[in-house]
Amino acid sequence: MKPQDENKEGIGGMINPRRYGIERVAYLLMRLSGLGLLAYFIGHIYETSSILKGQVGWNEFLDLTQTNEGHALLAIVIAMCVFHTVNGIRVMLGHGGVGVGKPSRPDYPYDPASQNMKHKIGIYSAIVLAAIAMMYGLAVMYGE
C-alpha cells in the first residue's frame, strides 16, 4: 500500500518563518528565545554553584565569563529575555481577548481580525526593545 502523505513537516515546518507574515516570525523567535533562555538558565544555575568551591573556584569560573565572548553571549541572552517578555505579554493579552478585534462573519478575503495592526506593532516593538536592551547591556558590561 502506498504510504499516505500526512502533510507533517516536522521541525522543518515549525521553524519555517515564511508564508504567514510577521506573526509567524514572532512564533519562531518566541520558541527560539524560550529554548535559548532555558539553556542559559540551566547554565547559570551550574555556573553559580561554583561558589561552593570557594573564592578560587568562583573566580576561575567568573574569568571564563568575563571575556568578549562571554559578554557577547550575555548580550544575546538580554535580547532574548526582553523579546520573550514583551512578546509574551502580547500573546497573553491576545489570549485574554485584548486587541484581537470583534468576532464577525468570515468574508472574502478572509483577513483574520486577530492579526491586526495592534499586534503587529507589538511584535515590532518587542524586536526594537530587545535591540535597545542588548546595547544597554553591552554598555553596562563594558562599564561605560
Binding site: G10, I11, M14, R31, G34, L35, L37, L38, F41, I42, I45, Y46, T48, S49, I51, L52, G54, Q55, W58, N59, L62, Q66, C81, T85, G88, M92, H95, V140, M141, G143
Partner: protein, 114 residues
C-alpha cells in the same frame, strides 16, 4: 491536570518571574557590574535571607515556566499517548532536578556551609 490550568500556571509563573528577575538584575546595577560579581558581594547577597528567599522563588518560577515551555514545544512537534506521557514526566523530572540542584547552592551558601 487540564491544559487550561497548566497555561494559567504558565502565565502566572511568567508574570511573577518578570517582576522578581527585574529586582535580581537591578541588584547587579547597584554597583559596577564587575564589582557586584566579586566573591564577597555574592556571598553577602546569598546570606541576606530575603534575597536568598527571592532567588529560591525565581528558581522555582523559572523552572516551572521553562520546562513547561519545553513540554509545549515538544508536544507541538509530535503527538501520541506514550510520547506525550514521556515528555510530560521527563519535563517534570528535569524541573525537579534543577530546582533541587539550585536550592542546594542557595541553602548551603545561606547557611555558611562553604
Amino acid at each position: 491536570m487540564r491544559e487550561s490550568t497548566i497555561m494559567k500556571i504558565h502565565y502566572g509563573t511568567a508574570l511573577g518571574a518578570v517582576a522578581l528577575v527585574a529586582v535580581h538584575i537591578l541588584m547587579r546595577l547597584t554597583q559596577s557590574f564587575a564589582e557586584s560579581l566579586e566573591y564577597t558581594n555574592v556571598i553577602a547577597n546569598y546570606q541576606f535571607l530575603p534575597y536568598a528567599g527571592m532567588l529560591e522563588i525565581i528558581l522555582i518560577l523559572l523552572s516551572i515556566h521553562g520546562f513547561n515551555g519545553l513540554r509545549v514545544i515538544l508536544l507541538e512537534l509530535k503527538q501520541g499517548p506514550r510520547y506525550e506521557k514521556a515528555v510530560s514526566y521527563g519535563c517534570v523530572a528535569a524541573m525537579m532536578g534543577l530546582i533541587a540542584y539550585g536550592s542546594r547552592t542557595i541553602i548551603m551558601v545561606n547557611m555558611g556551609m562553604l
